[in-house]
Structures are given as C-alpha cells and as structure tokens.
C-alpha cells in the first residue's frame, strides 16, 4: 500500500504505453517507435528498461502456447468495510475491470512451461495497483494448495503496491494466509519460484513474494517494504543510487538473481528441471 503514496524519485511522469505510435521510455527518456518496443517484449531497446506488462502478456511469455487453464476465476470480493472514497469500492472494482480487462489483480492457472506442468500465479499492476485483497489472497492460497495436491512446482510473478486498503484488516490477513499456504509447500518439498516484477512492495513483498525457494527479479524493478518517498521523508536524507532496484537487492543478498524478460522462461524451465 505504501507504494501508492510514492513515485519513483528520479523517474519523471509515467507515459502510458498503449496509445500512440511513439513511446517515451520511463527510464532513459528516449522516444522509441512503439512497434519496436512491442517486438522487444516491452523492453526498451536503448536502455534495457522493462516496461510493466499485463498478466495476459506475461502468460504468453511464460506458458507454452495454448496450455494455460485458468483456476478459481469465479471468486469475487465483497465490500466488508463499505469503503468509499470518491467511488464506492464495488464501483472502483468495476472501473478497474473495465480499464485492465482483468477480473482481479491476479490470474492463477495450470500450464506447461517448456513441456513441464506448473502452477502459475500472475499479478497485474494495472488492476488497482496489483493490490492484494481477499480475492488475490484466496487465489494465491488455492493455487498453492493445488500445487501441493498435484505436486507441481508453483511460479508466481509479483507486481503490486501492497495490501489493498479498501478491504482493511481483511487485506492484512491475506498476508498471513498466503504465507501459511507457502509454508505447506516448503513442508512438502514442492518448489516455489517467486519472480519479482516492477514494482513489488508492502504486503506482497512482505509475504509470498519474498518466500520463494528461489527469488528472481526483472532488471531495474523497484522492490521493497516501504515506498521510497516514505523512506525519504522518514530519513530526511537522499536515497542511495539504485535504492530498492533489483540490482540493489541482489547486491544486498536479498534475491537469488536478476534475469531479463527475454531469458525468463528459459531460466524458470532450467530451475524446474534442476529441482525435479
């Protein structure tokens, strides 16, 4: 949730990708022909910046074509707090469904990855900042239980600002729920690989995302507990260069490796072969 309060300190205004023929890279500010970026897996050809991509695009990249079978798509959230800001929470959900083309902030499913069956849990930042409420928590817990039952490796791709404020304490409790479900995979030797995409913060970072047997991040992804602006305000000092970037986490021993989008599928397939 903290991430919502923040903007990356040194990055200027975000540019929406879908519109127009030309796109300005969030990182190097280079103006690039959109088709060129699309062809390059939404990675900037000039600076290797990995644009945020949707869960559906992610599935295309990671699952063998036509093998993805979605799980638990019939769960939706109620409005336990009767939460209202400028919109009511149900209105907010509808708006995000329309905007993102997603039912919720995560898709889970079974698919083949280079021929091997796996369980995928893939978050989509464009749905309410990928925030984790009851539905996201439930789908992840169920995916872990399915992975356990079928003894299939589980792979998650996180991209989230954290817990979903609109569900209050219920969102907080999802952190415990999903972490307990991951605990059962560990007890039973079922591999869980966690991929961290830009951004991964708050209640998602502080639960399943940091519990992978192996943790892989996409280059330059922002990953942390508290958002950079909150930290800057608390510390009243300039943040170090590269702070909370994937490479910073690698340097501090917090993740196993940084892998570019282009090599992600191959790396995951290799790991699963090694762990089998």
């Amino acid at each position: 949730m903290w991430f919502k309060k923040t903007k990356e300190p040194k990055v200027q205004k975000k540019v929406k990708i879908p519109e127009g023929l030309w796109v300005k890279c969030d990182n190097c500010k280079e103006i690039i022909y959109k088709k060129e970026i699309d062809k390059n897996l939404k990675v900037c050809p000039k600076c290797n910046y990995h644009f945020r991509i949707s869960a559906k695009e992610r599935i295309k990249l990671l699952a063998d074509e036509g093998t993805f079978i979605e799980l638990d798509s019939d769960i939706s959230s109620s409005d336990p707090l009767k939460f209202k800001d400028s919109l009511t929470y149900p209105e907010r959900i509808k708006e995000n469904q329309k905007k993102s083309g997603m039912q919720e902030a995560v898709i889970s499913g079974e698919a083949l990855l280079s021929g091997t069956p796996v369980i995928f849990v893939i978050m989509d930042f464009s749905f309410m900042g990928g925030s984790m409420g009851s539905v996201v928590g439930e789908k992840i817990a169920r995916a872990a239980e399915t992975a356990l039952e079928k003894k299939l490796p589980m792979i998650s791709v996180a991209s989230s600002g954290g817990a979903r404020m609109q569900e209050g304490i219920f969102s907080l409790m999802q952190m415990a729920k999903v972490s307990a479900a991951i605990g059962r995979l560990k007890d039973n030797g079922v591999p869980f690989i966690s991929v961290l995409a830009d951004p991964t913060f708050g209640g998602v970072a502080a639960s399943f995302a940091m519990l992978g047997d192996v943790i892989i991040a996409e280059p330059r992804s922002l990953i942390g507990f508290a958002g950079p602006r909150v930290i800057e305000q608390t510390m009243k000092q300039q943040l170090p260069d590269n702070f909370q970037r994937a490479e910073f986490l690698l340097e501090h021993g917090l993740i196993d490796t940084v892998v570019s989008r282009e090599n992600m599928k191959e790396t995951l397939a290799k790991l699963i072969r090694l762990l089998a």
């Binding site: 959230s77 109620s78 539905v135 304490i169 219920f170 729920k177 972490s179 502080a206 940091m210 519990l211």
Partner: protein
C-alpha cells in the same frame, strides 16, 4: 501531571477543579468533602459518557496515549522470573521488540512484544516501537527456542509499523516479516497474541499469526494508519489534519469492536473507565486471565492438530463471494 487527549478536555477541567478543592480542604478548616464527592461523581459520569461513545479516531489516539501500558509494564505486572533475551544472532539487538521467558501461574512461557519508550530518550532508543528486521528475526529465534522446549508463546502487539528506513530495506524488512508470517503458521506450540495498543499493518502481524488473538478494548489494528490512508485518499500533502484522519479511521474499521464483529479476533479484553493507563493493574489482571485460560484450552491439542487448526483459522480470513452462490 496527567496527559489528556483532545476529547478528554472536559474531564481534565473537572479533575483540575477537584484537585484544587482537595488542596483547599487540606489547608483550611472548611469542610468541602461533599462538594468534592459531587464533582467526583460528575467526573465519573462524564468519563463514562465520553468513553462509551469514542470514535475510531479517538480510539486511535487513546491506543497511542503516552501513558498507556506497554509490553514491559504488563510483563512486570503479570509475570514472575522474567528474563529478557537479546539479539537476533545475525546482526543486532533491536530494542523495539523485546522477549524472554517468564512464568505466569507457575507455567513457563515465552513472552515477546513490541516495546515503545516512555519519555523522549527512551522513545528514541526504542525507535517509537518501529522494529528493524533484526527485531523480527529475534522474535522468530525466541519462538523457535520456546518451541524446542515446548513452551507456549504470548505476543503483545503495539507498533505504528515496521520501520521504513534505508538500513531496514538493505537488511530485508520484507523478508523478515514474510518469514515470520510463514514460520509462525507452523510453530508447534500454542501462540496467543494480544493487541495492547496500536496494531500497525505488517509490522504488527509479524508477531500476530496465532491460535488466539485478542484486543484490549481501546486498541486498534489496521492494514494502514488513518494518516497513511488519508494521504492516499486526499493527497493534499501536509495540510491533512484531524478531520481527514477521523474520516479515514472511520472508513478503515480498525477498532477492537469492528474486528470482533468481523471475526478476525477472538475476544475483547476490557479496560477500566478512562482507558488502560488509568488502572494498568486491572487490565493486566484481565490479560493474565485470558492468557491462562487460552493456554489451558490449547494445551490439550497435539502439535499436529494445533498447526492444522491454525491453518484453518488463517484460511478462513477474507471476505469473498463466489459466482453462482
């Protein structure tokens, strides 16, 4: 001098008046005891009226009251033979979380809790009760120690949140919290948690994955502070005030009463009129009763059953609808 919160101002006026009259009656020969008694009765009525109608924001300020009893106060009041155990054996000892063995009712248990400081110097030493990763790692080390010797664990929750700092990020704040959540779900001895003041988000939950969870009457527990919520909703930066915080506190449904209604907690532990700080021994006694009873209830369960039931408890958390139902 007692510290009064904004909404206690009418009580403060009365109590100051009572004090003045008492001093007067000590010095002079006039008898004003009946006058004092009348005012004391009035003060009690006023307190009762104010405290039975506290808004969520007022409760939040009460939960943060500088005189509110903290973990160490309760340890002193309800346990014997407490011995504090320090350090995470990795990097440091975090004074924002304390822990150690103690006895209640002749039973050994592990007590762990967030610790805020009283007075500026100690407050800074305790980092305002905001733990670093080392605090969570120490807590987990102590829980495993308790598990090894088959001792139940009691945690006291009282933190604004995990510390948002550069060092905390460098040393894996997220990982420390996540690991506690996972490991607490499978510790083989009973765990009982009590929110005694502020339950601030993941930094609170990292001591709160338990078999029984209680909240003291005027404590709060939330995914985000009212201030944080207000800043997101009405991003005005800087000129947010009590009015916005009160609105956010209402929206978040963060009181003990809300959480009991949501079935997120098991029960509420009563506070004396005027809040826990008015009679911390009374609250401590109520806490001790609940702890003793919970340990009795849980001690008959096998380790396997304990963990199974704890998992089921966590699995039920959420507010969901299913298509077609």
């Amino acid at each position: 001098m007692r510290y009064y919160l904004e909404f206690e101002k009418p009580i403060e006026e009365l109590e100051i008046k009572i004090e003045e009259l008492k001093r007067l009656s000590d010095r002079k020969e006039i008898d004003i005891t009946s006058e004092i008694k009348k005012l004391e009765k009035k003060a009690k009525e006023l307190r009762s009226e104010i405290f039975s109608n506290l808004s969520p924001w007022q409760k939040t300020t009460l939960a943060r009251h500088p005189e509110r009893p903290y973990t160490l106060d309760y340890i002193t009041l309800i346990t014997e033979d407490f011995i504090e155990l320090h350090g995470d054996r990795r990097f440091a000892d975090d004074p924002a979380i304390i822990g150690g063995f103690a006895r209640i009712n002749d039973k050994t248990l592990m007590i762990i809790g967030h610790q805020k400081g009283r007075g500026t110097k100690e407050r800074i030493y305790r980092n305002f009760g905001q733990p670093q990763p080392e605090g969570y790692r120490k807590a987990l080390r102590l829980m495993r120690l308790a598990e090894r010797f088959k001792k139940p664990i009691v945690t006291f929750i009282d933190t604004p949140g995990a510390y948002p700092g550069i060092g905390a990020e460098e040393r894996g704040q997220s990982e420390a919290i996540a690991t506690n959540l996972m490991e607490m779900s499978r510790i083989k001895t009973p765990i009982i948690s009590i929110v005694i003041g502020e339950g601030g988000s993941g930094g609170a939950l990292a001591l709160g994955v338990s078999d029984r969870v209680f909240m003291v009457e005027h404590s709060v527990y939330s995914v985000i502070s009212p201030e944080g919520c207000a800043a997101i909703l009405w991003r005005k930066d800087g000129d947010l005030g009590a009015e916005e915080f009160a609105k956010a506190a209402d929206a978040l449904k963060l009181t003990a009463q809300d959480l009991l209604r949501f079935k997120v907690i098991d029960d509420i532990i009563p506070e004396p009129l005027g809040g826990a700080h008015r009679d911390s021994a009374a609250v401590a006694k109520n806490i001790a009763d609940v702890v003793i009873k919970s340990i009795e209830d849980l001690s008959s369960k096998s380790a396997g059953k304990l963990i199974e039931d704890r998992y089921k408890r966590l699995r039920k958390m959420g507010s969901l609808e299913f298509a077609g139902t």
